[in-house]
Assembly symmetry: C2
Homo-oligomer: 479 residues x 2
């Protein structure tokens, strides 16, 4: 009961928490002998965290690794040469760190190819900057032409019906909501159009769909990302256009009907063999308790996936490098996992979880960095209330240790790659950097190293390493 | 006593606060009837803050104002044409907002001109990318030449003495400390070399000084900024070189002695008349209680001062625009002040404070935004403990209202322009955005609009407007 109550408190809006706490303090401040028993442990922890930050900020290799991976290899879509190269590139680095084990875990991944540069053109008008969505079928070299119909939600399709949609090109143009403070919420509120637009429009006979790019910025870069097909619906092509061109097209439609020509030669090929990369330091006291830190190695084919998710990979690698450099001997097994195929299949993550479950492993915690290499704001904890509750007190203490570094904790999601581990009932954690610029670059040709600030990247690695250290050195102690 | 105690708590490291609070909660949770009496006021405040954010994120003009000012006018060093133009540019915008009063406040400002492009060249070697420091005298068109001596602190000069320093060019090369989490602390720990290097080296007969740029990044951009001369020492030229060139020069010095040629034609001209820009909404209930929000209008001459401090100016203007747009009638007098000459004289701020004191005004609060247009992290409160203490409870409550927006409060500095108001014993507040990228641009030719992210800028304006709203609608209530 007590735990549930506390849990409710931390999950309530903070202002209530602060006010309540304040009222309590006033009442009992004079009578409460504060516990000092943990002082020395906390001092030791504070010192270790300071050492971690000092090491990463002065000597961290993450930025250089990310620089080399993104400039020497570039895009790393699952099934591509780039993805294969990145497997060996990161394995080589991890091999050099003198960890206990570095190995590849095989998985079968979808193999999609973009084909020739896309063409989306207003008939009798200008070309729109476009990119095919991942998994999209092609129009064939001859392309398709049709009248454009603009909609702002999936539900509108049902109202319009086959009568209005047959042989049309459906244009999904609901913008991400700028009023959201965390941009991932704005993304979550708009991305249904990109994911399900093609399948839903196909059910009413549409020829193709065009989606406004998932971005809060007005600019010229189209954003790719995956769409999903339903087995029962025809597969029609889906492409994104830039936010500037989405506004332009919308304006043109206000002036009268518009016909578009769309051509892409994307195709889905037979699955290919690929790999996730795994590196491990065995625990000295509780080797059966696994703490995972990871990101995903694959990226989209346009750009070089510097923030998504090269940053997460080098964060995870930097955790291992830093703890080794500081000669820290973990009590628990630390495992760095660079997952393959998060973007369009999650096959690396599913294979990893299946293998782990088959081996009856237990991940006491898994942390993913897949929100970019920006200045850290904190961590979101993703667990059922009854899983999380017994550890709440401990986790609040850890937050106190990280607050001097601008780190806060809240409840929220964790990461796509670690989500299949939820059934092991450990704590899943998402690294949460500042999100304001993330969707300026996400899935575009400009997600490159020059969009990454070294200090921001390093601070993320230091924050993650610090939390991994706390998880390892304390474990999760039930109250 | 109670207040002092609470004050100590908030000023202590947060982990202790959290732990203590936690211990208290456990003990008394069941017995404490939490106060609900303020619920409706808080709901009203939360709603108003949400409206402020919605307005700024959807309809804020700040980014466009900043775009136009930086691209149409450019650099705005006090005494320059750019500075004059910016006075009328911002006054025109403020005039259009239908405030109660908009006026210029005259001040006399130093007038320094950079002159011809600087030349710093290794004799028999390459040219180093350089910029004269503000207030620096020139070498004359003939330049100066001398042997370079590298030092890492001002104190080293005394040890070296005239014997080692006479006729030398002193090269100050202590980097900003990357281990600092807040980059302003790293700046504070290194900038003595730029400010006092020339004066101190001149006391031992040096011919000129070269300073490593105040930046945490390795790149090719030299950073200007002001130096200070002492009346009793000869005035010798001071220039900054880029961090890449500082490393290069340092390496060359390891290989043997290096002679440098330095030429700049900077000069200090007679003072000029300039202006700060002031806009006001009169308070409906307590017009004598002034709440100031401001930034500084002047910038360095290289670049266009987008972050430093165009961002602060448009933040302050956006406060006025937003509250007008929401039809908010302030109880207290809200004053937006765009100060002239923060960079090399602070004459606008000093004139403002003198005038205010002569009129026996009382600023209950003054808030400055002069740390760039990055994602807000919070506000630092700058006041003597006995000034701050009676308001602590209230301010903690406000923090609770802003925490959902990622805003936190701490003790710290406020801003150079508002610091002369400290004697009025109101609360001085510094707006604190994320600081990681600030010194990448600070005082360089790349501090331009393309370094500013619209959402980050807008979130700052919304946070500041929200705090100004709370200050106005509540005032400062002594416990």
């Amino acid at each position: 009961m007590k735990s549930t109550r506390l849990l409710l408190m931390v999950y309530k809006p903070k202002q209530n928490f602060v006010r309540s706490v304040y009222a309590v303090i006033i009442g009992v401040l004079a009578f409460c002998p504060f516990s000092l028993s943990q002082e020395s442990t906390e001092d030791k922890d504070a010192l270790m965290i300071r050492k971690i930050y000092d090491h990463v900020l002065e000597k961290g290799d993450g930025y250089q690794w990310l620089h080399d991976m993104t400039t020497q290899i570039g895009g790393r879509l699952a099934g591509s040469d780039g993805a294969d190269k990145s497997v060996y590139f990161t394995k080589n680095i991890l091999d050099s760190l003198a960890l206990d084990e570095v190995y590849l875990q095989e998985c079968e991944v979808p193999h999609w190819e973009r084909g020739e540069p896309e063409l989306v053109k207003i008939m009798g008008g200008k070309e729109l900057r476009s990119t095919a969505l991942g998994r999209s079928v092609g129009t064939g070299p001859e392309g398709v032409e049709g009248e454009v119909i603009e909609v702002f939600s999936l539900d509108t399709l049902e109202k319009l019906g086959e009568k209005m949609l047959k042989d049309k090109i459906v244009f999904f143009n609901r913008p991400m909501d700028p009023k959201q403070i965390r941009t991932f919420n704005a993304y979550g509120g708009a991305v249904d159009q990109r994911v399900w637009g093609a399948t839903r429009a196909a059910q009413y006979g549409a020829k193709a769909v065009i989606v406004r790019s998932m971005s809060l910025r007005q600019d010229d870069y189209p954003h790719t990302g995956t769409l999903a097909y339903d087995e029962n619906s025809p597969k029609i092509p889906g492409l994104a256009i830039s936010t500037n061109d989405a506004n332009y097209l919308s304006q043109e439609l206000k002036n009268g009907s518009v016909r578009l020509f769309v051509r892409n030669t994307s195709k889905n090929l037979p699955p290919k063999r690929s790999h996730s990369v795994i590196a491990e330091i065995k625990g000295s006291e509780f080797p059966e308790e696994i703490i995972l830190v990871g990101g995903h190695l694959d990226s989209w084919d346009i750009g070089s996936g510097a923030h998504d998710d090269g940053a997460g990979c080098v964060h995870a690698m930097q955790v291992m490098q830093t703890l080794k450099a500081l000669n820290y001997k973990p009590k628990r097994t630390l495992r760095c996992v660079l997952f393959m195929n998060e973007e369009n299949g999650l096959k690396g993550a599913l294979t990893y979880a299946d293998t782990s479950n088959a081996r009856k492993e237990f991940h006491i915690a898994a942390l993913e960095s897949d929100s970019g290499g920006f200045t850290p704001r904190g961590f979101s904890f993703d667990a059922e209330a009854e899983v999380f509750a017994p550890y709440f007190r401990q986790i609040v203490e850890w937050e106190g240790l990280l607050e001097p570094y601008g780190i806060h904790f809240w409840k929220g999601g964790s990461g796509a790659d670690i989500s299949p581990l939820k059934s092991q009932r450990g704590i899943l954690i998402g690294f949460r950097p500042d999100s304001q610029r993330y969707f300026d670059y996400h899935h575009t040709e400009i997600d490159n190293i020059d969009a990454v600030n070294k200090r921001e990247l390093d601070l993320g690695a230091a924050a993650i390493t610090s939390l991994i250290y706390l998880l390892d050195s304390k474990g999760l102690e039930r109250e």
